[in-house]
Every structure is written in C-alpha cells, then in structure tokens.
Amino acid sequence: MEKLLKLLDSNARLTDAQLGVMLGCSEKEISEKIAEFERCGTIRGYKAVIDWDKTDRAYVTALIELRVSPKRDLGFEGIADTIMRFDEVESVYLVSGGYDLAVIVSGRTFKDIAMFVAKRLSTLDSVLSTSTHFVLRRYKDSGVIFLGEEKDERGVL
C-alpha cells in the first residue's frame, strides 16, 4: 500500500472513493487502510502547503543549526524533546555533518526569531552553539514549486 501513501503524500484531499478508483480497490478498503495507518502512526497528520507570502500574515522562517552535547542515557532525545515543544518550532531533525540538530523555526518577524534563539534556544543547558539562517525566499516547499506557474513545455506536433 505504498502507492496509497504516495498518493496521499501528493494530495491528501483525494477522497477515499477517488483513491479506491485509482488503486483498483473499494472505498471501504481504502478507509480501513487509512484508519490503520493513522492508528499505527504511519500517517501523522494532514496539512495544506501554503504560500504565506500571498496572504496578509507576517510569516518568517529560519533554519537553525544547533550544536548540542548529548546526555548520558538520553543521547540527543532529551534536548530534542525540549526543543520540539516550543510552539515556534516547526521541525526538528537530528542530522549528520557539522552540527547536530537542524531546527526550523517560524515567527512574525526576523526579530521574533532572533529573540527566540537568543532567549530560549541558546540558553538551554545542552546547547553549545547556534547558527541562524533566515529563509529569504521559498522556491519549493514540501515537494510543491512556489516559483512561477508550472508550464507544459511539450510542443505541439
């Protein structure tokens, strides 16, 4: 049922009936399968991909590189657990490379984010250093292209 997940990943608003038709099974089978995915946590949620720049909402995001010292027994999970609970934090990833945690933070203004990093993140015990990269423009997000219209460039024959 990987196909079902891929279809939902591309468009979570497809109805169970539509999904059933596309995958050659009944609407009931689809709804049961989705319920199962939700129950076991394979599907964690549904959301729209929104270009906030097209709205009145002031919305700024930043990628924050965090170097942290892992705790005995808990490893990185203790600090990750603390960080992910802030409302400002959209995503937290443990990453390989020059730093440990990649944190995506959003706020109304650049200053909001700067203050959040200065006052809430960098003051945490395990945090060794932070490096904040503000997002200036979103070209593509969650697999969706934000820049310009998608155009069919196939020529007429």
Partner: protein
C-alpha cells in the same frame, strides 16, 4: 516561361494529420487545458540524460555505424530476449532508427511494390496509411470495434484478405484506442496468416505500457510468425525519450538487408548521442519504466471511472496512454464534439476520425498529464455534457 513547381501527386493528395489541425486551433486560444498530447509528461530519467551528456563531453559526436552502435544493438537483442522471448542477431537482424516512425516508413518501402494491398486495422496511428500510399500500396482499412475491445479479429482479417494482400500492419497496444491483443487473440490471427504469404509489420512502441496482470505479447513470438514479422519499437514512450528520436526494427535477415540499405541512403544513422543514452536506458532503465507505468495506471483508472460516470462510456483500455470514449450520447460527430468542447470549455481532445473513419463517434483522450490537470479537464468535460443535455 513561367516556372511551376511540380510536386509528387500522391504526396499532394495526402490529407494533413487530423491531430495537427486541432493542435493548431487550440494553440491560438487562451486557457486551453489539453488532453491531446501523445507523449509522456515525464522527462527522460536523469541517469539516461546523463549518459547522453557524458557522450557529448567525451566528444563522441561522429556518425555511428549505419545500423547503430553495436553495443546498443546487442542491448536491444538482450532486451527483446528478456521481455519478448525473441532472439535476433545484433549483427544483421536489428536496425537502430530515427524513432519508430522511420522504421515504419522503411518497412513499408522495403516490402511494398505498386499495387500491393496493405491491411490496416483502424482506428490506428495516423502515419501508416499515408506512408503505405507513398510506397505505392493500396490501403484497405479493417474496422475494429469497441465491442471487440478494438481488437483485430480473425474473421475481419480473413474477410479482408485478397490475392493481392501483401502486408498487415499490427499496432498493439493501440494508439488511439488503448486496445491490446492477448496471446489467445494473436494465436487466432496467426492461424489465418499461416495459410498466406502475408508479411506483418508489428508496431509495438507501447509494448511496455500495459496494465493489469498480463504483459504485452509480441505477434512475432507466436509460432511461425517471427519469420514473417518486422517488429518495431523504440525508446520514446517507455523511457520518455520522444525528443531523442530513437527507435529500432528487428526482422528476418533477408528483409533487414534491404531495410538497412534504405536507411543507409536516407538517414545514414540514428543520432549518436541518443544511442549512448539508449544504451543506459536498456541497461538500467527497467525501474523507471515501471515507476512511470504505475503512475499512468493510476491516472488511467481515474479517467476511465470519471468518463463512464459522465456518460462517455469507454471500454477498459489495457495499454498505451489513451482512452477512447464513445461520445454517442451527445449526438455530435467527433469533429463537432471536439470543436464545441474546445470553444465552450477550452478542453482539447482529438477527434476519433483523425485515426480513420471508423473513429467516428469517439474521441482520443491522453492521460500523459498530472492528476490535477486531468481532474480539472474532467470537471470541465462533465459540465460540457450536462450543459449539452447528456
């Protein structure tokens, strides 16, 4: 003295392609949402493009041998063996061509003498009839019907054969209907052919794109048919490589000797860059073909379901990337339907009559488009049918 260009009379008399005419009208309108293009919406998989780029970087920009790079011919032989269960000698039974279209033209010109009759099951792709006529053949269309899933039946074939019949063109999976011939249907055709000296051009360009449990079967793989079949395929549809212009033909040595001679005089060789890309496609492209096929299948199921619910009934197309619904409920001709759908709802589809007179009452709809695009087009078609009392 006034000079006048004298053109080839047969060529002058040929009708321009009916697909093209609608494209021309549609391209002058705004907001047109098209379901008319017969080529993959996917780009060529990156590793295949990269192989082409690398060949350019290394300066491999010469002619290839007339028949094509030997390594490519060897790969084609291996691929045909693996997927169709057929053996061809890459030395002199396989020719790499400029798309499947060139192979069709070469085959027709190599096989037809003036006055020979050519049987073409229709609806079918637009090029067979004019090219057969240019080669001096007399075309006899065989009508295939929706109730037979647009298959060629043994009875229809038998009824069309005369002492002058020289050639049969088989085109399955079929453009525009999406019809396929399963092994049992091919066996019946083969049984008719065995008693004749009719040769077959089998255009299997959509051979990789079949849906459901059963894979495509080549007519050449039916007992006794390989010796009388020219198998044509290519990279355009399966590997999303239309613009590279690369196809191939496989057939008996005696025929291929003439076909290669013609190719050598007319084309020299297929584009070398494309040939290097094609080597990579055959070596490592099976996964890409499967991924694209799987995507087409999702769209196919959706579009067939929508059309049937709208009232444009269509049989379940099991191959290629087209559906061929009946528009009978509208009471319009194919041309009228397409013209009005374009004018009123700005949706472009191709009239069935572009593929032969027997396409009257049908339209061809391509699903080489994203689901989002297809959904929007189906919504508009639905409104069109409701507005027109469907």
């Amino acid at each position: 003295m006034s000079f006048q260009i004298r053109l080839n009379k047969t060529l002058e008399r040929l009708k321009p392609s009916g697909i093209r005419r609608f494209f021309d009208i549609a391209s002058e309108m705004d907001d047109v949402i098209s379901l008319s293009i017969g080529e993959p919406d996917f780009s060529t998989p990156w590793h295949i493009r990269e192989a082409g780029i690398q060949s350019l970087e290394k300066g491999k920009t010469w002619y290839s041998p007339n028949s094509g790079l030997f390594k490519l011919r060897k790969n084609i032989a291996g691929y045909i063996k693996k997927h169709r269960g057929l053996c061809y000698d890459p030395k002199d039974e396989i020719l790499v061509t400029v798309g499947g279209s060139e192979a069709i033209d070469l085959g027709l010109r190599s096989l037809i003498s003036p006055g020979d009759e050519v049987l073409i099951p229709q609806p079918s792709f637009v090029c067979y009839e004019p090219l057969a006529q240019l080669a001096g053949g007399t075309v006899k269309p065989i009508v295939t019907r929706a109730e037979d899933c647009f298959r060629l039946t043994a009875d229809a074939l038998r009824a069309a054969i005369t002492p002058r019949t020289r050639l049969l063109i088989m085109s399955y999976p079929n453009n525009p209907t999406g019809g396929v011939m399963r092994r049992e249907h091919l066996e019946e055709i083969a049984a008719v052919l065995r008693d004749t000296d009719i040769f077959v051009i089998s255009d299997e360009i959509y051979g990789e794109l079949t849906y459901g449990q059963q894979k495509h079967v080549s007519l050449a793989s039916i007992d006794g048919m390989q010796e009388r079949t020219m198998l044509i395929s290519g990279f355009s549809k399966a590997f999303a490589m239309t613009g590279w212009r690369l196809g191939y033909a496989c057939g008996p040595r005696v025929l291929m000797k003439q076909v290669i001679k013609l190719h050598q005089y007319a084309l020299m060789c297929a584009p070398t860059t494309a040939q290097y890309a094609a080597i990579e496609a055959l070596e490592n492209g099976d996964g890409d073909v499967e991924a694209m096929r799987s995507e087409y299948d999702i769209r196919r199921r959706y579009i067939v379901d929508r059309l049937n619910k709208i009232g444009l009934t269509c049989f379940d197309p099991e191959g290629a990337f087209y559906v061929f619904p009946s528009i009978k409920i509208t009471g319009l001709t194919s041309e009228q339907f397409c013209k009005r759908l374009l004018e009123e709802k700005r949706v472009a589809v191709v009239p069935g009559t572009a593929f032969g007179e027997s396409g009257e009452g049908f339209v061809r709809i391509s699903y080489c488009y994203s689901l989002k695009h297809i959904t929007e087009a189906m919504d508009r078609i639905e409104e069109f049918i409701i507005n027109n009392g469907g």
